[in-house]
């Protein structure tokens, strides 16, 4: 009895101490983890309005035309209200969405044919079923309408057959390897019964109230807010919240302050040092989020001294990419690493490590430069034929991350015997004039692929046909002027190779040529940071994926205590 009493006393004392410790320790540095939540969808609290901060306001609602390929238009609006054929897992794998009954049937011979089986429950917000006619209309718009942002893949389709209203068969005139991205991603499915025969752009540019997703638009006051409410006709998981309101803070420092003051329940800004302030904020889920976006040093291979392969390789060996990434993102997330190919580490299927051979090695710089006929002057700078190894770094003025990259590069390259000067300009001039006209040396800018498949950016960046010339009106994005007919043929083949194993082998072959030629040097994965106030928001917060971002399962979020 006495022993019992002692043990009970001991337990009480320990429990008391634990409670006191918990109370004292609470608040300051507690970081909530989403996995700690035990609330399931079935018993998740209903109601409440969540206010979220978006980095950018959608320019308009026409996702395939005037305002195509805008990431924030996708996160804020399109992915919440539009029907799509394929979703994506958090590991970057494309899987059929709930618009389909399962994986489409793929036939590769004699010609590619994809048969989509549409879910009988799938309906638009007005109750009209989602039909083959909608696939037909969407393809027709993508392939034939003017001012379409990107017709990739759709132009390979020769027609869409409707054997029955709930089955759509896409017949391809030429194979298209990235077929899973069709009717998905930035393009999606449009309602034929509402838009056919009308001016799509005019009807949707200010937003639209029809929906094929879990949410629908309540109102969009330009410059102020965009409010989504649940789509009552949605056949999948219905939203727990009454509404989601997106606000558009334009300044990143203000956005951080606004989050801290509780005016936003979640934000998703680009990774920047300033965000380290939020890492230890109480009740905050803080996660650097690598997507498919990546940033490279793009060498102008038509301009001396960068027209020399040896110089480009030497610059690659002179660059300590680990140091750059650590300086740029270390305080935000130590797990962010440099990228070693033309996609990021989250793209499990297509990511490779070919560029890892370029580690900072000044002895290799010396041998490459000497082999190319350069000699070091008394100032420690390489020179050849009376000309110094001087290059210019060009990027968007005012971008602190890129300016910091330039400073690190200047210091590293000076030590390796190169002079690097900085000449930045506004985005419109860089992308509209300098890059198309080839009046740059080394551009620092990012790619934002809309699909995990390498065909999303490979040909536009490195195919001979994509070199901007006066003949093609300076269109095309092979700004590096990398010009190799054999590699172009291989890349074109990649676009149409339907067999994944063969495509991977082809990609490895292409990458070995590109690693040797170094038209660009991959640097960082350009992460975003997902910041959520876990005192307000409940639900699974790690469902995000590289295309649809972290708000993809907004319908599963809920307000803790029913208010937020």
């Amino acid at each position: 009895m006495r022993r019992m009493r002692r043990s009970t006393q001991l337990t009480v004392v320990l429990l008391t101490l634990a409670l006191v410790a918990a109370a004292c320790g609470g608040g300051k540095k507690k970081t909530a983890t989403p996995k700690a939540t035990t609330t399931t969808q079935a018993n998740a609290p209903k109601g409440g309005t969540l206010v979220l901060g978006a980095d950018q306001e959608p320019l308009c609602g026409d996702a395939i035309g005037a305002c195509g390929a805008q990431l924030w238009a996708q996160y804020v609006f399109e992915e919440q209200v539009m029907a799509r054929a394929f979703d994506m897992t958090s590991l970057g794998k494309q899987v059929p969405s709930d618009v389909l009954t399962g994986l489409p049937d793929l036939v590769t011979t004699p010609k590619q044919k994809v048969t989509y089986h549409i879910n009988p429950k799938a309906v638009w917000s007005d109750g009209q079923p989602i039909l083959c006619a909608d696939f037909l209309y969407s393809w027709d718009q993508e392939d034939h309408d003017q001012d379409i942002n990107d017709r990739s893949g759709y132009k390979n389709i020769s027609g869409i057959d409707c054997p029955d209203p709930k089955t759509a068969v896409a017949n391809f005139s030429a194979p298209y390897a990235d077929w899973r991205s069709l009717f998905s991603g930035f393009t999606e499915i449009w309602p034929s019964h509402l838009l056919k025969g009308k001016n799509r752009d005019a009807l949707v540019k200010d937003g639209f109230k029809w929906s094929g997703g879990p949410w629908m638009l309540d109102h969009w006051t330009k410059g102020q807010e965009l409010k989504l409410v649940p789509n009552p006709a949605y056949w999948g998981k219905k939203p727990n919240l009454d509404a989601v309101v997106w606000k558009f803070p334009a300044d990143s420092a203000a956005q951080v302050a606004d989050y801290k003051s509780g005016q936003f329940a979640a934000i998703y800004p680009q990774a920047q040092l300033l965000l380290a302030l939020l890492k230890n904020q109480p009740n905050t889920f803080f996660k650097p989020f690598v997507v498919f976006n990546y940033e490279d040093l793009w060498f102008n291979t038509s301009k001396p001294p960068l027209d020399s392969k040896a110089v480009r390789q030497a610059l690659a060996y002179a660059t300590d990419r680990d140091a750059i990434v650590s300086q740029l993102f270390g305080p935000v997330g130590s797990l962010i690493k440099p990228i070693q190919s033309y996609t990021t580490q989250v793209n499990k299927t297509w990511y490779s490590t070919e560029f890892s051979k370029y580690k900072r090695d000044l002895s290799k710089v010396d041998s490459l430069m000497k082999g190319d006929g350069w000699t070091k002057g008394p100032d420690g700078i390489w020179a050849k034929g009376g000309k110094k190894a001087a290059v210019e770094l060009n990027t968007t003025a005012g971008n602190k991350r890129r300016e910091l990259t330039e400073q690190v590069l200047q210091s590293e390259w000076k030590e390796a015997g190169f002079t690097a000067t900085v000449n930045n300009t506004k985005a419109g001039t860089l992308f509209g004039q300098w890059l198309p006209a080839g009046t740059f040396d080394i551009g620092i800018f990012a790619q934002t692929p809309s699909s995990p498949h390498p065909s999303a950016t490979m040909c536009s960046n490195f195919c001979t046909l994509s070199i901007p010339t006066t003949a093609n009106g300076n269109s095309g994005q092979d700004y590096t002027r990398y010009n190799d007919a054999a590699v172009t043929t291989k890349i074109k083949g990649l676009d149409t190779e339907l067999l994944a194993t063969k495509a991977k082998a082809d990609l490895a072959d292409i990458m070995s040529s590109l690693v040797e030629a170094v038209p660009s040097l991959p640097v960082d994965p350009l992460p975003q940071v997902f910041v959520v106030n876990t005192a307000k928001v409940g639900g699974y917060l790690e469902a995000g994926n590289p295309i649809y971002g972290p708000f993809v399962n907004l319908n599963e979020w809920y307000c803790k205590g029913g208010t937020c």
Binding site: K222, Q224, K247, A257, D258, S261, G428, G476
Partner: protein, 321 residues
């Protein structure tokens, strides 16, 4: 007076015309309306759009076409969003005007009060304090003050008093679920403060100087000698005359504010002219930039004109000269 006003208006027309030429040339030179099409795999798109936008025509033809359309109110659609530019500018202008109206009222009241007090109690402790504060206000960058105001007037009170919502807001015009007048007021305080700091600092110095000037005038001495009470001399004779230079300064400043609230509107997510301009500039949206610049130029000319006319009205010596 009418002749005076008509003459001033006539002067404004060539100024606006010259502004239109400069605006058109600078915007054409620094933006590329076709930039967004250059990356398209469709090789004919750039040529098609060039023709569609009339960029294949001579620059003089482009200018006259644009000016004619601008004067007739046909400002076209945004290159980026395809929305009606006049609608966007109208909405943004109204939001900026709200800031300006409240900001001017607040700044004018504070500046006049501070200026009069400082002049009436020259070299007092408060006069020195106001002088020091006005120098701080003039030298303080708006973006820094705005960010500090969010930290100390929004975040800290919420944290210290464990509030569920902040007392003042720093995002937009109103909350997601509350469109009441009180909510509007709570959103208005910080941006108005941010735009007012420099105005109060500058105007209070003008008001102090002109009050001191007025108070040392012969007519003030005469009034005092005739036994008019000090407060009456101060407010009826001194203040009325001291307001004349301030009024003109205010009119010029108000004109500039229509395009000059870029930082305030950006930090407080205020959907006004400043944010519209930044977005148009980033996207190279020539169709928005051109009318935006012309509208702000017109406001500056208009308020300068107003300053001239007001000066004439308030001080008959000017119009007679």
């Amino acid at each position: 007076m009418l002749t005076f006003a008509v003459r001033r208006i006539a002067y404004s027309i060539p100024v606006l015309l010259l502004a239109s030429v400069l605006v058109f040339l600078f915007v054409r030179e620094t933006t590329d309306p076709l930039a967004r099409y250059r990356a398209s795999p469709d090789k004919e798109l750039v040529g098609r759009e060039r023709k569609l936008l009339g960029l294949d025509k001579p620059i003089t033809h482009q200018y006259t076409t644009w000016l004619t359309n601008f004067v007739h109110g046909k400002w076209g659609d945004s290159f980026v969003s395809h929305r009606d530019v006049s609608k966007d500018i109208r909405a943004s202008l109204w939001n900026t005007m709200q800031l300006i109206i409240w900001g001017i009222l607040f700044s004018a009241a504070c500046a006049i009060a501070i200026g009069v007090y400082s002049a009436a109690r020259q070299y007092s402790v408060l006069d020195y304090t106001f002088t020091g504060l006005s120098f701080v206000g003039l030298s303080m960058p708006v973006f820094w003050f705005a960010l500090m105001s969010i930290q100390f007037l929004v975040y800290e009170p919420k944290r210290i008093f464990h509030l569920s919502q902040p007392i003042l807001y720093s995002v937009g015009l109103h909350s997601a679920t509350d469109h009441s007048l009180l909510d509007y007021g709570r959103h208005l305080v910080l941006p108005v403060l941010a735009l007012s700091v420099q105005l109060i600092a500058g105007w209070s110095r003008y008001e102090r100087a002109s009050m001191l000037d007025a108070m040392s005038s012969d007519y003030i001495r005469t009034a005092r000698a005739k036994g008019v009470p000090r407060s009456k001399v101060l407010f009826k004779h001194g203040l009325r005359n001291a307001l004349i230079p301030l009024t003109t300064i205010m009119a010029i400043d108000i004109g500039a504010l229509f395009g000059g609230l870029i930082i305030t509107e950006t930090i407080f997510a205020w959907p006004g002219m400043g944010r519209l301009f930044v977005n148009a500039l980033i996207n190279g949206d020539t169709n928005v930039l051109l009318p935006w610049l012309m509208i702000t130029a017109a406001f500056i000319v208009l308020f300068n004109l107003l300053a001239d006319v007001l000066y004439g009205v308030l001080d008959p010596r000017i119009r007679l000269a």
